[in-house]
């Protein structure tokens, strides 16, 4: 892949990420069906790492994003008394666009960096070769549990992040524009908001897969020294950001 430049290199990287993601999914499925106790233990380890631990940072971030959006909407409401369009639009954009992008960025920072670093360290410690020598598929072993945990974490993070953002948004709305919680929650938990939340979950799954694919494709590149691991992590983060923002722009433009 190093010999390629520009468009072909990008296509090769996307192909590598997609191929590794598919192999990880199939390999993990096979391991779980075969009753591999190690796979179950890896999954049990991966769940707190990818699902619960990020919530400590993610929930305050989502609440802060909600507060920022709420301040903007509150100021707008003091100028124009247009509660219905502003509040319904706010709930929709919060759950359809802002929270998925925020959680996606967080996934990019944690998943892609963690994966590329882990794969680099495994290659440097010859653990990939060790797995191959034992007849184990290194992709299924190293990436499979992480993929399962990441896919499981996306709807949970979106749901809890969305609730935190809605609550965060409600505070400035009440303080600045005198919009009470019953009125705001009527918009934030409406059918339209639920549809926006489902779209947000679908978006977040796509962002999480992009972060996973980027992290695994960058991490799978040969590592010659420990310093390479840090460089790969930075590359994975920036490439992941670019991928997620491109996907978000495309989704918004096309759908």
């Amino acid at each position: 892949m190093d010999a390629l430049r520009g468009g072909p290199k990008l296509l090769a990287a996307i192909g590598a990420g997609a191929w590794l993601t598919m192999r990880a999914a199939l390999g993990m499925g096979r391991r779980l069906i075969a009753g591999d106790a190690l796979a179950q233990r890896q999954l049990a380890d991966g769940l707190p790492l990818h699902v619960w631990r990020p919530l400590r940072t993610l929930l305050p971030l989502a609440a802060l994003a909600g507060i920022i959006a709420g301040i903007g909407a509150g100021r707008l409401l003091t100028l124009y008394n247009a509660q219905i369009p502003v509040l319904s639009g706010l709930a929709e954009i919060l759950l359809r666009d802002i929270v998925p992008l925020l959680v996606g960025l967080f996934a990019c920072g944690s998943v892609s960096v963690a994966l590329s670093s882990r794969l680099g360290a495994m290659a440097l410690n010859r653990e990939i070769d060790a797995l191959e020598a034992l007849g184990r598929d290194p992709v299924a072993h190293a990436l499979g549990p992480a993929l399962a945990a990441v896919l499981l974490s996306a709807p949970i993070h979106m749901l809890l992040g969305g609730i935190a953002a809605v609550i965060g948004c409600g505070v400035p709305l009440a303080l600045i524009a005198n919009v009470g919680w019953p009125l705001w929650s009527g918009f934030a938990f409406s059918h339209e908001a639920a549809a926006a939340m489902l779209t947000g979950i679908a978006k977040l799954l796509l962002y999480a897969l992009i972060a996973f694919g980027v992290g695994s494709a960058v991490g799978a590149k040969p590592v010659r020294s420990p310093a390479d691991i840090g460089r790969r992590a930075t590359t994975a983060f920036t490439a992941g950001l670019l991928g997620i923002f491109s996907a978000a722009a495309l989704w918004t433009a096309l759908l």
Binding site: R126, D129, A130, E132, A133, L134, G135, D137
Partner: protein, 164 residues
Amino acid sequence: MSALLAFEGVSLVLGGTRLLDQVDLAIEAGDRVAILADSGAGKSWLLRLAIGLVTPGSGTVRLMGVALDVAPPDVRRLLRARCGVAMQGGSLLGDLSVEENMRLAIGTGDWSKRRRGERRIDRLLLLLTQDRALAGRLCERVYRLERGRLIQQDAAVTVPDATS
């Protein structure tokens, strides 16, 4: 009957250096073969070729009658799972416990074989907890654990690379 492990005119070039040149080797079942050579002569690369971790520049390596260079990756892994391999410099997984490193060798194939492997590990761990002196001796060097992992496998071929 074909050899368990056969090299047929195998050559390997690395970084412009011809490390192995037209190597022919045939190892039958039950044979015990030691390969002695100077450091850097390519013993470890021979091992990697023998289990299909590296593809030769020319020639064919046959493991249990299967030509490794044309075999799909899954077939190569199945064949490797039937070999006991200990790599030079250690081949343990750092994020797994001693027990889990041993359980890695059992694989996910045949249920009865897996149960047999699990019973062996349980016996070995029980022995280690009962006899602390033996545990101390066993933990003395990392390669001892790798040997422990080797004995969990009903290996058709055992390939330790400078581990003793």
